[in-house]
Subunit: 272 residues, 2 copies
């Protein structure tokens, strides 16, 4: 078996998210189907990705892996890259296909994921509408950044997550920063070791509450490590969200990192 790494991007507008679901168009199913076809595999291969994006969420820097038992892996990578580029529909695009280094795992070997959320609190440019959410009220970016700092670090982010039985909500929030773009929109960037379900869109929802003056900084700062999901937080629309980048450690640390992530995951799952 050879493991391949695939770097890809998609416009999530017409996908029901990453994860394959019967009868729905998903990124996973679209890619697996086309990989199976262009390589003439007897059955659809299985793709594992770094960030399982929800319905409507976009990606510029998604990473996935798949294992194939085929001769001449370098040739397979090159064929796959070339043929997928021609075959895939316009809303999903393969940036690169390569034989993965030893120990690589798209999901468990990642050290962080970075997302960007783009919104407008003023004029809505129709040419940005697929990737920009509209909010009511004017956003005070400095205030957003003050609030953002209060969320950084290792916390239980249950208040910001859709509960999933047996899954931890403890995350290392490494970076969270808002910036007004030259075109007037606001971009909120966020980086963590990993995110739980709907976490980025809830973090942005909380920041918008503070930045528009509807809630105070203390309210948001009090949410990490509180007990359950916070009903006052709005999950922001999917279309503003883009998975921008996934980072892996140097090749010689890939296997270690994957082992650690798996161990941490099973430990927290047992403890919940």
């Amino acid at each position: 078996m050879t493991r391949f790494r695939i770097d890809l991007a998609y416009d999530g507008s017409d996908f029901h998210g990453w994860a394959a679901q019967p009868g729905l168009r998903t990124v996973q199913e679209e890619l697996e189907t086309w990989i199976g076809r262009v390589l003439r595999l007897p059955e659809r291969p299985l793709l594992v990705c770094a960030g399982r994006t929800d319905a409507g969420v976009h990606a510029r820097g998604q990473v996935a892996h798949l294992d194939l038992d085929l001769p001449d892996p370098e040739q397979v990578a090159s064929t796959l890259s070339h043929k997928l580029r021609l075959a895939l529909p316009a809303d999903v695009s393969v940036r690169r296909v390569a034989v993965a280094p030893a120990g690589f795992d798209a999901r468990f070997a990642a050290i962080w994921r970075r997302y960007a959320y783009r919104l407008t609190d003023g004029y809505a440019d129709p040419l940005d509408r697929l990737t920009t959410a509209f909010i009511r009220g004017r956003l005070d970016v400095a205030l957003v950044n003050t609030a953002a700092e209060s969320l950084l670090g290792l916390h239980d982010f249950a208040a910001f997550c859709r509960a999933r039985p047996g899954a931890t909500t403890i995350r290392q929030l490494q970076w969270l920063h808002a910036e007004r773009l030259p075109d007037g929109r606001v971009e909120i960037g966020v980086r963590a070791d990993a995110f739980c379900h709907s976490m980025v869109r809830s973090l942005v929802g909380g920041l918008v509450e503070v930045g528009t003056g509807r809630k105070g900084v203390e309210w948001l700062a009090g949410l990490p490590d509180s007990v359950g999901r916070c009903g006052e937080i709005r999950v922001m629309p999917a279309k503003g969200l883009v998975l921008e980048e996934v980072r892996y450690p140097p090749d010689d640390q890939l296997a270690n990192r994957a082992r650690e992530s798996r161990a941490m995951r099973s430990m927290t799952e047992e403890s919940m």
Copy 2:
């Protein structure tokens, strides 16, 4: 009668261009219909725009005017701005509605139009696909700019235009410049007093021929002031093109400018 100035933007993907055509969805028809509805006018008003964009071409800085015989024009402008924002579909957006200064004419008072054409000669990001054309071959941006300089100035651009009986193809090309964007795409900006039909897309088509090495700089430099339309030039896809900006002179020169443009237009029409 009061003249109103409307600044607007649209995603041209689902429009058959600006100009109203029976049975087709056009920007003009969409706007005129909604203006008539929100102001409860007895009939659809007539909009005149600065740049009659073709099917599939986008605009960020389109300008239009319309004349209305209604009391309290300032209130009408404010109502129109507010109601259109709520009523219009997501692919067209009104940036501003104002009572126009005396002598204003969206078409004839303009001193220049600026367009941008975006293309990729490498990776095609699905999130940019509505506004970015793909080309085969690698573009040498420095070579494009050398070729671009040879086209500047007052010329007969018939080689780059779809002929329209009685219409001049003499234009003042003021600026034409290519730049590689940080994301790897190439943006070609162009400014002229006005453009004839398909001229921007043909100019870009010619520059791409040179920039990819398929033709020499001399070939392109020889086309202005040559007799008829050049069959070797490809009209680039509409989706890469955006009308970015229309510039008008200071208010006290508007009427003069409109008079000049009209006079020039009828003179050249008579001479052809």
